[in-house]
């Protein structure tokens, strides 16, 4: 037996290289189609009447179907926001090139808040209660990115 055991390999790096294929489903498909027409769609619950954005099939609160599409916004109110100083890249924290604002927007006609970027305004100018309007990509690319951000309305 050797007197001293030397460590020859301390760590191994094991990449998991695979891809998941998820069905987007008709609700997000229709939402994306709506963004291309500069419309923001939600669905209304047949039980408690709540209107959620993005649209989905089942209401969490009352477990009822939400089959009625409703156009909401494009204006809304900033209900909550945070100024980001970092970005997360695959779970690693990196300093952001510049500060940016993630808001929770209460779109007119919706009961839920939509997480979205707030642009067209200095981060230190953003306040709760600020009225904002959706900015859409033109021409549309048929992706979630067609809703670019929200900027101050009016």
């Amino acid at each position: 037996m050797p007197a001293k055991q030397e460590m020859v390999v301390a760590n191994v790096v094991v990449p998991l290289d695979f891809t998941y294929n998820y069905r987007v489903g008709p609700y997000i498909e229709r939402y994306i189609k709506g963004l291309g027409e500069k419309k923001i769609l939600g669905t209304r619950c047949s039980g408690d009447g709540s209107v959620v954005v993005p649209p989905r099939k089942i209401c969490g609160r009352c477990n009822k179907a939400m089959d009625e599409y409703v156009e909401v916004g494009p204006e809304g109110t900033v209900e909550n926001f945070t100024v980001g100083h970092v970005r997360l890249d695959k779970g690693l924290v990196e300093k952001a090139d510049r500060e940016y604002v993630i808001g929770l927007i209460k779109l007119d006609g919706a009961t839920s808040l939509l997480p979205a970027l707030i642009g067209g305004i200095s981060p230190d100018g953003v306040r709760k209660g600020l009225r904002v309007r959706a900015v859409f990509k033109d021409p549309a690319e048929d992706s979630l990115g067609d809703l670019v951000h929200f900027e101050p309305a009016g």
């Binding site: 709540s50 959620v52 909550n80 970092v86 779970g91 929770l104 808040l113 997480p115």
Partner: protein
């Protein structure tokens, strides 16, 4: 509810690349067996608690069975937070089929895999993950702002909470981040992430293992003269969508606590509970959870920070271990909270000991902004 008790606990923690997972598990469980003078033959059922995604191995428990002694035993796995694993073990003992259950959790968030990336993979893949706006830190910041805004509190209160946790952690040999002289100013001077979150308001990445043994009343009395009775337990889950939740409060914790308190005969939580160990991953989650547990009035973070109520010597000590800001075992943190309550109630918490602690509440969470919450009431009083 049939009487069931936690009879012993053990923990091994590291904030850096430590020892391999299997050895960590072996040493943790071996120390428990040795403390009680038992072997794996004395364990009726094994509940393993780990996260397959974190381990990078599907059905991660099959690799953990050997070091903990579960070979050819009744064995099962809990992938949620470790407090659910303790609840599950208690139910298996209460079923009458087993006298003893070993609950053992582990996680390698400091060395093997990044906790923030694990949280990214909890996001809705066809929407939130595509947009890249939400992550563990940005959602936590929105939750913190919801609380500060609702109750007109300042970020200084959050810094005071973080500083207390880091000071308490200095008394905990298992903490991986601590500072006996931590101050709010130091917390506020740490790196800004998403406002109002600073680096020292967030949980540190932690490698570790934690184990407890749950036993029936008869077996508990044979194994220890200090059984810690599980008097009540419950869990509840809120909406995944943070835009549909009231982030300033934790309704799921409140509902779970209500059921656990009913089982335990607790009608005045602040009066009847001597110490709390809550699964807060961020400074602001401590008041949100404690208020939902009925330990403090809603929106009282500033007042509690100022008057010392939550200190180890205060009227309602919270996380004398340093809580999640001292060490946070991703997916096993709630098990650690139970273990810390057991240390308190068995009188083995050393410099962190709360005097005359008889009844404790433990809390564990999963999901963004503590979407899913579990509550357990533990007590040396038999009820």
């Amino acid at each position: 509810m049939d009487k069931v008790a936690v009879v012993a606990q053990a923990q091994v923690m590291s904030g850096a690349i430590g020892i391999p997972r299997e050895r960590m598990l072996y040493e943790t469980v071996k120390s428990l067996y040795d403390e009680l003078g038992i072997t794996r033959d004395d364990i009726g059922t094994f509940v393993l608690n780990s996260n397959c995604f974190e381990a990078g191995r599907t059905i991660a428990n099959v690799f953990e069975d050997t070091p903990v002694g579960a070979y050819m035993k009744d064995e099962t796995h809990v992938d949620s937070d470790g407090l659910w694993a303790v609840a599950y073990a208690a139910m298996r003992v209460m079923s009458g089929n087993y006298d003893t259950a070993l609950v053992v959790g582990n996680s390698c968030g400091a060395s093997t895999f990044r906790p923030y990336l694990m949280m990214d993979y909890q996001l809705n893949p066809v929407y939130d993950r595509q947009l890249g706006l939400l992550n563990e830190l940005s959602t936590a910041a929105l939750q913190a702002n919801a609380y500060l805004d609702r109750f007109d509190a300042g970020e200084e209160a959050l810094a005071e909470i973080a500083a207390r946790c880091l000071r308490n952690a200095a008394n905990n040999p298992n903490a991986v981040r601590s500072n006996p002289g931590a101050s709010a100013d130091e917390v506020l001077a740490s790196d800004r992430l998403y406002d109002p979150l600073r680096e020292l308001m967030c949980y540190p990445f932690t490698d570790g293992a934690c184990a407890v043994i749950v036993a029936s009343e008869k077996r508990a009395r044979e194994l220890t003269d200090r059984p810690v009775w599980i008097r009540g337990m419950s869990s509840s889950v809120d909406s995944y969508y943070i835009g549909e939740r009231d982030l300033a409060t934790s309704r799921a914790t409140k509902v779970a606590a209500g059921r656990a308190y009913d089982m335990a005969g607790i009608s005045d939580p602040a009066g009847q509970i001597d110490v709390a160990e809550v699964g807060a991953k961020f400074a602001h989650q401590e008041p949100i959870i404690c208020e939902a547990l009925g330990l403090f009035p809603e929106g009282s973070a500033g007042k509690v920070a100022a008057d010392g109520t939550a200190e180890i010597g205060g009227a309602m000590p919270v996380c004398p271990s340093g809580g999640g800001l001292g060490a946070y075992l991703f997916s096993a943190a709630g098990l650690v909270r139970v273990a810390e309550c057991v240390r308190q109630l068995q009188g083995t918490a050393g410099d962190a000991q709360v005097a005359d602690a008889r009844t404790a509440v433990a809390h564990g969470q999963d999901g963004f902004c503590a979407q899913h919450d579990a509550v357990m009431v533990l007590s040396t009083e038999e009820g």
